[in-house]
């Protein structure tokens, strides 16, 4: 994992001091709220319904155990004993007081963490694959270029007052777990015929009011030139992006209105100028220095199988189910990737208590080479667990309500905070997720239904990714009452697609029945081995519509 050097430490400390000064100027009246708002947002401080909210960055979703422990400490000391892991691999605290946030940030900085650029019209926290460095067949650990992008984009003087927010995601694997095609810029690590590593760059994806899948802008940007290419994209966007209407200000709208080919021409022209200057060509020594931090950890040489592990599964059916649902093969023999579901039946998706965070930190320290990951589907991962330790890890998770064996299943839902917390929401999301998970609580039924991704947003901003849910649910407000619209066929992986709306919205009372109708329509129509999304792609919307609106 990347470790701060003196320069990184100093800059984060400077930023905390700067924010402390900004808070003081706001409280003293030297800054109006209008002037302060973008400054607090660029430090991750929002105002929600009940209180401020602080969003802390977890760059590319990677944490050391001491960092997870600090997140637990902050939940206890500055908040109400819990935190909420988000679709951008960050954590949000829902109750911090403004005047305590500078002290909170000081404590975060002591473990190399911050809230810089977690909001505002700037380049946000770079997200990536939660299995980076652990999964087989990765071309290169995507965190290397993610860290380089993190540094380049931090306090970028030209791109801090963009037309709108800007999100970058990176994957180093053909299976996209970072939803890169739904980002302003999505990057896929590639190898060319000469064996060199470079990047395929997709531009103009996004959700919100007008969802788009990103367009492939460049099939192969050489490694040392990626920042020059990104700077070119950003400059074109900053100069030409719309500022007259915030709903049309994202780069997806610029790409759409300008046209893919013209956008490519503009970017290439700017790229040629920046590249010629050589000023953004990253030195090989610095690439090597950062790469070294992401070298494989000290794996032990182990047999590929473990008798103890096999026996434990035979002896404990719940453990066997957990292994089947939540454990993924590791690239290193004798190791496994363990997913920790933050979606207990009836729970709040993505929430973890301070005690749970401490438990996970301890498990990471003792059994996962000190690492934890956060996923964009609001779960956590212990990336490097020995097969021999799996049962021990499972038992600790189970004792702390962290062993729900539902990864990728119908109860493993993404949900935004919705109207229970959020200032922008039109409807609640969490209670709906809870009702759905309770309706489908029976795990055997969930396994029978198979992979099915439900994603719920409480407003059109789509923080709950409803556009790309196999089943998407959007909360809408009709004269102060909550209604829910269903969409089908979305996908956030390498086959990214925007879902189609089924028809009129359902009331709060009817929506869970409607979801069940969609699910039974699928189980009635599926052929052997067909997942929900496969069946939908084969039969289309009509059969679902007929059953929903008869």
């Amino acid at each position: 994992m990347y470790r701060y050097d003196e320069f990184d430490h100093k800059l984060v400390a400077d930023r905390v001091d700067q924010f402390r000064g900004q808070v003081e100027r706001r409280v003293s009246g030297a800054l109006t709220e209008d002037q302060f708002k973008p400054l607090r947002l660029m430090n991750g401080v929002y105002l929600q319904l009940h209180a401020y909210m602080l969003r802390v960055a977890i760059p590319y979703g990677t944490l050391r155990s001491e960092q997870m422990r600090m997140l637990a400490h902050i939940a206890r000391k500055y908040d109400r004993g819990y935190g909420h892991f988000t679709t951008r691999q960050n954590i949000q605290y829902n109750w911090p007081a403004l005047d305590q946030i500078p002290d909170l940030l000081d404590e975060l900085a002591s473990v190399e963490m911050h809230a810089i650029q977690t909001s505002g019209n700037c380049i946000r926290n770079v997200t990536s694959d939660q299995y980076a460095g652990a999964i087989n067949d990765e071309i290169e650990d995507p965190r290397i270029i993610s860290e380089i992008i993190r540094q380049w984009s931090t306090f970028h003087p030209e791109f801090t007052y963009l037309p709108r927010k800007f999100k970058i995601a990176v994957t180093g694997h053909v299976n996209d777990r970072a939803a890169i095609k739904l980002h302003d810029i999505g990057i896929v690590v590639k190898q060319n015929d000469a064996g060199e590593v470079g990047y395929e760059v997709h531009v103009g994806g996004g959700q919100g009011r007008t969802p788009f899948v990103a367009k492939k802008m460049n099939a192969f940007v050489p490694k040392a030139k990626l920042l020059a290419y990104l700077e070119a994209v950003m400059r074109v966007y900053n100069m030409l992006g719309r500022r007259d209407n915030s709903y049309k200000a994202r780069i997806k709208i610029l790409v759409h209105e300008t046209g893919e080919d013209e956008m490519r021409r503009l970017v290439e022209a700017e790229f040629a100028k920046i590249d010629a200057s050589q000023m953004l060509t990253v030195p090989q020594e610095e690439i090597d220095r950062i790469s070294a931090y992401f070298a494989p950890p000290a794996f032990e040489t182990l047999p590929a199988d473990s008798d103890g592990f096999t026996k434990a599964q035979t002896a404990d059916a719940d453990f066997a189910r957990f292994v089947r649902a939540n454990v993924v093969a590791h690239k290193q023999a004798g190791y496994a990737i363990v997913n920790i579901s933050l979606k207990p039946i009836g729970g709040v998706p993505g929430d973890a208590t301070d005690a749970q965070m401490d438990v996970i930190a301890d498990l990471a320290e003792h059994y996962s080479l000190d690492e934890v990951r956060v996923t964009h589907e609001q779960n956590l991962v212990l990336p490097h667990v020995q097969l021999d330790d799996l049962k021990t890890v499972y038992d600790v998770l189970a004792a702390n309500q962290l062993a729900t064996a539902n990864l990728g299943l119908i109860s493993d839902q993404i949900a935004c905070p919705g109207l229970d917390y959020c200032n922008l929401a039109n409807a609640r999301s969490i209670p709906l997720a809870q009702e759905i998970s309770e309706r489908f609580a029976d795990l055997d039924r969930q396994y029978d239904i198979g992979e099915l991704k439900i994603k719920i947003s409480g407003c059109i901003n789509a923080c709950g990714h409803h556009h790309v849910g196999h089943i998407g649910i959007l909360g809408v407000d009709k004269k102060g009452t909550e209604f829910y619209q269903i969409s089908l066929g979305g996908a956030a992986d390498e086959n990214a697609a925007i879902g189609q709306i089924t028809g009129r919205a359902f009331t709060e009372e009817d929506i869970v029945d409607a979801i069940e109708t969609v699910v039974t329509t699928y189980t009635d129509l599926r052929t052997d081995g067909e997942r929900f999304i496969d069946t939908y792609n084969r039969v289309g919307m009509e059969p679902f519509k007929e059953r929903l609106y008869d």
Partner: protein
Amino acid sequence: MTDYHLVIDGATTPETWSYIDDDAPLNDAPIISLGRLKDQADALRARGGKLGVVLQADDPDKTRGKTSMGEDVHELAPYLDMLSLVSIAFPIYRNGRGYSAARVLRQELNFTGELRASGDVLYDQWAMMNRCGINAFELAGDVSLETFKTALGELSGAYQPAADQQRGALWARGK
């Protein structure tokens, strides 16, 4: 008299320029609109003398279409030899188009004259403007030079190169 405090290259400096309306006669140090510069380019070139231009980030006449993209910095290219000052307007501090205009002027069009920020130019933006190559600031009248210098020094370093002297940590480490 101006109602702003002009700081150039880190020093309080008396204003010697004035913004001139499109239909008003020129004085000996006028800052004119891009439209007037383009319309009267030949006459202005023949006139010689000091000339400045202001680049608008909003485009009230929507000459570049309904999307109000602001004036295009590249349009200054043919006239840069006549210009000793470009004033980049920030109509509201949230409109950051001018940061890119400044870098293009400095680093692609190699403009070496005075590059100033005018309009809604606030404390928390000065350092970034400075890094993008802006060397002159029209500050609110009550802002002291000391405050200005404090703002510029709040962050002790930079990760990335821009239009100032800093190399950026990604380039400077190990050097």
